[in-house]
Subunit: 363 residues, 2 copies
């Protein structure tokens, strides 16, 4: 049984569901083999330690919008099914941090760094870095396996869960394909706006917005027409969301975003913003400006002053304005799809709020 | 519908099921994002390129032994469900090779090596090794996600599949816990026979024999008593199987095993054989002999002559005889459990044959 209260403070309910699942999944393996304890603890802390719970939230409102009743018998099961998206995300982040050799996440050491430190602190044998790498590979795998376990164990009628399987399948394959495309694009050096947009569509739009909405709506038994409209909404909103992220990654105020200014540049992220910046500079025959942008991408030692220069370059050539305009257009298109979907209230209102927040946020 | 022929040449049926699934899962993502083609191909080739199909085979005979009818309506669905174990195994091997920095597997380059080479051949940007590592992380993840998709999509009644979920859950968590324990034990340098046995129980017995049998029997609706007996059989057989593997890893004939002689030594595997060797040498106050063994473990440049020396040392101190005795005892205990299980024929006979093959094999 559930409470109408699920709608309010939804992320807290997600955390409760995750906490319960992690305890039930972790206790047996910890009891069987105590040396796994630090790994199980690290995964739990990672999952429970933060995040906006964006994917479960989109899934929840997809369910509500397609007629899901928060006071009905399925609500608790749907909460569990959609909360499992956070475990997929844990896998994605832990493995992403490993592939990117990132040192910190949400102000804490990343998993591979924390386990390398554990190795070094104990004075263990062999390479601390290799131990950290192995721990991150295995804990990411565990998160992915547990995501499936949590989803499959959701207390829902078998036909309800089966209806959501296509979305579940597509979501996991698409995020991995998006990650691969990202790595591949960095390797080939394809800096075109088209390449950046393809990554945005797979990594952010499909994985973060479209499939969660699809999953939720399918759990409510939505028909293909409604799912199609939600997928359109999600694609436009998801790309707009990523474009806002790209702008914040270069222009964001560190005191608000919690990340050092220009970190996206140092990490070498090939965003649409940067692709447009280089393309526009080249079209305007401003080779020096194009070089300022190109040289900054992936420069791990980029100074604050150089970040300021890149900001000025992107603004001057019109890339910032172009991205802002795209965000506006995509958001408008997303909201038009949302209107066409004729969702049950309060889902329509809440998804509209989420869309505006996601695309206008400052953090 | 199925044919009684499933019993004969079972691995070929597993390969057919895998080929079909891989095509159906791979085609949409390849069509959506062509750059993922080489990744999808690599995973398919890896999965279809060999292996003894041991885990599906144990699962199949668990199902048959618990009364599953190879001419009944569930046979095709059970084939699909148990074939998915090969995708879990693909994840385990791809990620294991990455963690161990192994260069080759079944005579081909490992996934991270093949993708690093791809990067180098194309003259792409950045580090070829990092690209190879990222590809291996993502393809292992994809294999794990697809394992769940293949299992969950098996055409079986929902209650049948639900009955097998506990085995499915335990199997994936246990193999990851076993891998972690292995890495952890190598780091702490715990060279005790007890530590080696704990790894054998999780990594081999639970994952390769017990849970596949459990999964198969559960798909046939087996009761707790039968499952318990199969778990006993599987624990003893699985450890005996691993001990035979350990002996072959040091004493195997390369022309039969297909692996260089003494490769387990170079890789630094901490097996019960080596643990007993060192323990027995110490008990006999033969410090020089103990040192021969200890120095060989993890020595990547170990010569053929040094391998011969280790073989002599292990034989002299009685470690080989002790491991052979343990294999005999465990096999006898396993076969006694098998008799107690009173399985339907021909499963009892086939599992007995598998047990004898697995523990007496020369490759």
């Amino acid at each position: 049984m559930s409470e109408p209260g699920f709608d309010a403070d939804f992320p807290a309910h997600v955390e409760r569901a995750l906490e319960k699942f992690l305890r039930e999944a972790g206790d047996p393996i910890r009891a069987m083999e105590p040396s796994t304890g630090p790994g199980v603890d690290a995964l739990s802390e990672f999952v429970l330690g933060g995040g906006k719970r964006l994917r479960p939230t989109f899934a929840w409102w997809g369910w509500r919008g397609a007629g899901g009743d928060p006071a009905g018998p399925d609500a608790e099961g749907v909460l569990q099914a959609v909360s499992s998206l956070e475990l997929v995300q844990a896998c994605a982040l832990i493995h992403d941090d490993l592939m990117d050799s990132s040192d910190s996440r949400r102000g804490s050491p990343t998993v591979h760094v924390a386990f390398a430190k554990r190795h070094a602190d104990h004075g263990w044998l062999g390479s601390a870095a290799s131990f950290g790498q192995a721990a991150a590979v295995l804990l990411g795998d565990l998160a992915l396996a547990w995501a499936d376990d949590m989803f499959a164990a959701a207390p829902l009628p078998a036909t309800t869960l089966a209806a959501a399987r296509p979305a579940w399948r597509a979501m996991r394959t698409e995020v991995l394909a998006g990650q691969y495309l990202d790595v591949h694009t960095q390797a080939t050096g394809d800096s075109s706006p088209e390449a950046a947009l393809r990554i945005d569509r797979l990594k952010t739009a499909a994985y973060t917005v479209q499939r969660p909405l699809h999953l939720g709506a399918a759990l409510a038994g939505a028909d293909d027409r409604l799912i199609g409209t939600l997928l359109s909404f999600g694609r436009d909103l998801g790309v707009a969301f990523q474009l806002r992220d790209d702008l914040l990654g270069v222009f964001g105020d560190p005191s608000v975003t919690g990340k050092p200014a220009g970190d996206d540049l140092r990490e070498g992220k090939r965003t649409l913003l940067l692709a447009l910046g280089m393309e526009l500079a080249a079209a305007q025959h401003r080779e020096a400006v194009a070089a300022v942008i190109a040289d900054a991408v992936g420069d791990k030692d980029l100074t604050e002053d150089a970040v300021t220069e890149v900001r000025e370059a992107l603004t001057e050539v019109g890339a910032v304005a172009a991205v802002e305009r795209r965000i506006d257009d995509l958001t408008a298109a997303a909201l038009a799809s949302l209107d066409a979907a004729e969702l049950a209230e309060p889902a329509a209102t809440r998804l509209r709020e989420l869309a505006v927040q996601a695309t206008q946020r400052k953090y």
